[in-house]
């Protein structure tokens, strides 16, 4: 129809600036990335087409395999703990008192710090010789734990630092979720003789299901890309025990200048994150059917 066509043209003009930027900084680099991952290329030369050679090399690279394992492991350490702590804080601070408001602000404040400051703070705490934890352990008569220099503990150091840094947003999301639970459900439960625990399990937790799904998906996607803490706190060490995939990419691209190879690792991580979050969405989406409204 002529009328709708003329109406669409000015509409297009309005979204054009956004579309232009979107294509330039997102779509084109994504396509270029795939192209790059199929080439052997450094930043000085043009490189040449290599097919799936980069991917084949990745599959056989023990360093990549180790960093992939580290990434999964640290994500598994962070996400469940983060969920439990954020939910606990949300439950404890879901009240309209001045004290709760102040504490909400305090617990959220770590989220506004940059990764350099966060890792600096945690260096002071985790350093075995002069760190806070070490001093405390010694005062209590224990041997201080070498968080930053032990291959077994380095990932825990990353996990603890990350949880402290990123607790604010999940806590706020849980608080928002809790405030959406209608108060009369709790009153009905009280009249139904539900104990505090039964009320929590049967009313609060099911009501937070959507929030929980959201937090798990956001955090999983974020932690699979963990980078700054690993680089600044442990530099991936000792002997690669805390090297994550993004840190591996960083080393390959800007240490060894093998752009195609690094890009191939990035494509693999991209597919993994997509697969994991889609799987979570699919699993929880089916279980959550029929829960719209009440």
């Amino acid at each position: 129809m002529k009328g709708s066509a003329t109406r669409r043209d000015p509409g297009l003009a309005f979204v054009a600036p956004f579309l232009l930027v979107y294509v330039l900084v997102l779509i084109l680099p994504m396509i270029h990335g795939v192209w790059l991952s199929l080439h052997i290329v450094d930043i000085w030369g043009d490189g040449h087409f290599a097919g799936i050679a980069n991917y084949a090399r990745l599959a056989a690279d023990p360093v990549f395999a180790q960093s992939l394992g580290n990434t999964f492991l640290v994500t598994l350490m962070i996400v469940p703990l983060l969920m439990i702590i954020a939910l606990g804080l949300g439950l404890a601070l879901n009240r309209a008192t001045r004290g709760a408001a102040v504490l909400r602000g305090i617990f959220f404040s770590s989220a506004v710090l940059s990764v350099t400051i966060v890792t600096l703070i945690w260096r002071f705490i985790l350093a075995p010789d002069a760190g806070l934890l070490g001093e405390l352990a010694q005062a209590a008569g224990f041997e201080p734990l070498p968080f930053l220099s032990s291959p077994e503990l380095a990932l825990w150091a990353l996990a603890i630092t990350t949880i402290w840094w990123s607790i604010g947003l999940p806590m706020l999301l849980f608080l928002a979720g809790l405030q959406q639970v209608p108060g009369d459900l709790y009153e009905a439960a009280a009249l139904d003789r539900a104990s505090r625990w039964r009320t929590f399990v049967s009313i609060t937790l099911p009501s937070l299901k959507r929030t929980t799904i959201l937090v798990v998906m956001l955090q999983t996607a974020a932690q699979l890309q963990l980078f700054g803490q690993a680089q600044l706190l442990t530099a991936g060490g000792p002997s690669g025990a805390s090297r994550t995939v993004v840190l591996f990419m960083n080393e390959v691209a800007f240490g060894r200048w093998e752009l195609g190879y690094a890009q191939a690792a990035a494509e693999v991580l991209f597919v993994i994150i997509l697969a994991v979050t889609l799987t979570q969405y699919w699993l929880t989406g089916r279980a959550g059917e029929g829960e719209h409204g009440r």
């Binding site: 459900l185 009249l191 139904d192 049967s202 009313i203 829960e291």
Partner: protein, 380 residues
């Protein structure tokens, strides 16, 4: 409960006769500095249907929530079936509540919603099944048992909420504005169902409502609330025919009763009054009942003021005519400026600006003293 033993001797046996049913003794409640209920006393029979009627903010919902245990009274006692319950947990009071919003658990099926309270009370699986099946049959929700609240219509949710209360076999049902979320047609149907329901349950019912039609049609007795206090407790027609005070007289009945200033005039055994416009009205209120003051107010329901066919009676100017079909309501202004509501036949040809004469049925008139107290004809 240890509590029961501790309390029984403390209460005064002469004043407090313990009988089955609900008794409220001196229940008061304030939120911060705002008083909501002021020393409320009330007795409800063990199978009585009571309606709490009153405007918003009159304290009726707060009193219901105090009985349920969702609010704590500042002072006073709540006694159900000879047991003081005001310090017991909501779940231990033998009461069930139907919330205005229904408050169904959204992630549970209808069956689970109804079973939740029974499971928490430790009722056996087989018995729970029986109780749910019985309630579902009575409420005709058997086909809905495996659905979730989101998959139900408003009326169905309402039934489930009632079902969740019934299966607990409480001694007292508390209904908070149970019909207010339903559309007009469904509300009428559910009203009939509520009336039938009460014949099936061996328990008292207290229903909070601001809809006088609901209260009039359903309740054995109506408790009219206003301004933190109970204004009157009586059977529906008693409330309508013999309102205890000016507030009850104007709140119950639609359209509201006309209230006009009136002076006591000379006369015989029954009081006669003179209205501001000069008209004399012979009431059936015994003169001996009235207070000494001569400045009174007269209350006239619209059906007792008719547009006069003969043209005799006080004159009024018509302000507005509402044609309701079987009758018309005529809002008019008397010569002294007083506003009055009268009735005319359904085919009334009156229009705003007309002048009409009114015939006042003095025998049905109510009188109110300077303090607002109501006086009525003996045989009315």
């Amino acid at each position: 409960m240890e509590y029961d033993k501790a309390v029984a001797p403390r209460s005064e046996p002469a004043k407090l006769r313990l009988v089955p049913g609900l008794q409220l003794r001196g229940v008061s409640k304030s939120f911060k500095s705002t008083a909501v209920l002021d020393a409320v006393d009330l007795d409800v029979g063990s199978t009585e249907f009571i309606a709490f009627l009153g405007p918003s903010g009159s304290g009726k919902t707060t009193l219901l929530r105090i009985i349920a245990g969702l609010e704590t009274a500042d002072s006073g006692e709540v006694i159900l079936d000879e047991r003081r319950i005001d310090l017991a947990a909501p779940g231990d009071r033998n009461v069930a509540m139907v919330f205005q919003s229904y408050a169904l658990y959204p992630h549970m099926t209808v069956r689970e919603n109804m079973a939740f309270g029974l499971r928490n009370a430790g009722v056996g699986k087989a018995e729970i099944e029986t109780l749910i099946a019985d309630a579902a049959r009575v409420l005709e929700i058997e086909a809905l048992l495996d659905r979730r609240p989101a998959q139900l219509s408003g009326g169905q949710r309402q039934r489930v909420a009632i079902g969740r209360a019934i299966v607990k076999k409480p001694r007292l049902f508390l209904l908070d504005e149970p019909l207010s979320n339903l559309d007009a047609a469904l509300r009428l149907r559910t009203r009939v169902e509520l009336a039938q329901l009460r014949t099936r349950v061996e328990a008292g019912v207290i229903m909070v409502t601001h809809d006088q039609a609901e209260a009039m049609t359903l309740a054995d007795r109506i408790v009219v609330f206003n301004d933190r206090r109970i204004q009157q407790v009586a059977a529906p027609m008693e409330i309508y025919l013999r309102p205890a005070n000016k507030f009850v007289a104007q709140f119950v009945g639609s359209p509201a009763m006309t209230i006009l200033p009136a002076r006591l005039a000379d006369g015989g055994e029954h009081a006669a009054v003179t209205l501001g416009c000069g008209a004399r009205v012979e009431t059936r209120v015994p003169r001996a009942d009235l207070p000494a003051a001569s400045a009174l107010e007269i209350g006239l329901r619209p059906e007792h003021v008719r547009v006069s066919e003969s043209g005799e009676g006080p004159e009024a100017q018509v302000l507005l005519v509402e044609r309701l079909g079987e009758r018309s309501l005529v809002y008019g202004q008397l010569s002294d400026g007083g506003l009055i509501t009268a009735e005319d036949k359904g085919t009334s040809s009156l229009k705003a600006g007309d002048r009409v004469a009114l015939a006042i049925d003095g025998a049905s008139a109510h009188l109110f003293g300077p303090d607002g107290r109501g006086f009525h004809g003996r045989e009315a």
